[in-house]
């Protein structure tokens, strides 16, 4: 499993948030599976040329969101999806993102029916990846 993370300074999204977003996306797409180990903080920091504290912060945020668990001495691992919880802030963020997508779609001239169809298709792709990921394991 190769975890390729890219960060860009100078965006309005802080660096730690970019890491959180990319890891979250990887988990959602099934490219990171429960039990997978995230790179060590120092290793990732050296690779991305950023402060190790930023990586640590990103891992903290992921842990608080329930996406990962840290075992002292061993490292940080993707958590079991059954143990994850969602809270109001997460839902908020989700709705925000949805609004962005819907806005774009409407401006491109798509109708709600088209948008729903697109959504279903993408969901399907994610589900497939997750299934095949599980099969690999």
């Amino acid at each position: 499993m190769a975890l390729w993370i890219q960060i860009l300074p100078g965006l309005d999204k802080p660096i730690y948030a970019q890491i959180v977003a990319q890891i979250s996306e990887n988990v959602a797409k099934g490219e990171l599976l429960p039990g997978d180990k995230l790179p060590a903080v120092r290793k990732l920091a050296a690779e991305l040329v950023i402060n190790p504290n930023t990586v640590a912060r990103a891992y903290n945020v992921l842990e608080q969101a329930g996406l990962v668990t840290t075992k002292t001495g061993s490292g940080t691992f993707i958590s079991d999806p059954k143990l994850r919880t969602t809270d109001a802030a997460d839902i908020n963020m989700l709705t925000e993102r949805m609004d962005t997508i819907i806005t774009r779609g409407i401006n491109l001239g798509l109708k709600s029916g088209d948008l729903v169809a697109m959504f279903k298709e993408r969901l399907g792709k994610f589900a497939n990846k997750q299934k095949s990921g599980k099969k690999k394991k």
């Binding site: 300074p9 100078g10 965006l11 309005d12 802080p14 660096i15 120092r42 920091a45 050296a46 040329v49 950023i50 402060n51 190790p52 504290n53 930023t54 912060r57």
Partner: protein, 307 residues
Amino acid sequence: MTETVLETYGLTKYYGGTLALDNMDLKIPRGCICGFVGRNAAGKTTAIKLMLGLLKPTAGSAKLLGCDSQNLTPAIRQRIGYVTEGHHLFHWMSIASLEKFQRAFFPKQWDDRFFSEMIEYFELPKNKKIKHLSHGQRAQVSLALALAPNPELLVMDDPTLGLDTAIRRQFLEGMIQLIMQQGRTVFFSSHILGDVERVSDRIVVIDKGVIRADCSLEQFREAVKKVKLSFSDCPPAQLDIEGLLHCRRSEKELELILIGTDDEKIKQWADSAAAIKYSIVKMNLEDQFIEFTAPPNHKKLFQWEKN
């Protein structure tokens, strides 16, 4: 209790009648990477030189590693790496001679392999004289000379000034490598906010000799907000919103720069001021810095009028 490796108390410097540094109070703990940002001639070099005892304060004091800056002992200087502004080195020396020279002052600390690896990585021939190097190459040598003795505290004055992107990245890599070792602290001035955002966990903003901010990078990022509001009529004259730094008015719009104001409070104020709509504008670190240090009534230099 984390030890303070760099501290200043009311550090002030006048050049004749000009105030270069006004009452600077700073406490940098061990293990911190602190980015010292400010515009040109904001007082960064003055502050750094005062900290290193190269300048004398008009008032106040500074301490490095617990030792007064005006009386830094050789033993303390041994633990401090310093990259000077402009990376000026003895131009007649070759890299190898400079290495020998510098190494003589760090008999036990000098990391031969590290220095050679760094110079090799930068593809610099050791027998080349400093006067035949470009500014960027000189900066690389300067950094290698400062890092090889493995200093506890690294103070750098605008280390990436004049360097191209690739070399800047290498500089940052070197800094990250250093900071990963226990107990190392870096204090560097820069006006390249992308670099500061990458490696710093703390930011100190200086403007016209005055420290305007001294906090974690996170806090700064979260605190500086820009809010745009539009009104059906004239915006209110009284702006009693907490944390207001600047405001810009136009006919029916208001742009506010707020420091440390809750999103909730912004919403409340917008409602109470009867704004038609408002939005919290997303800013990157550079935007935040510019807004934070902008003069109160700053006008735009270039304003294109419609003909």
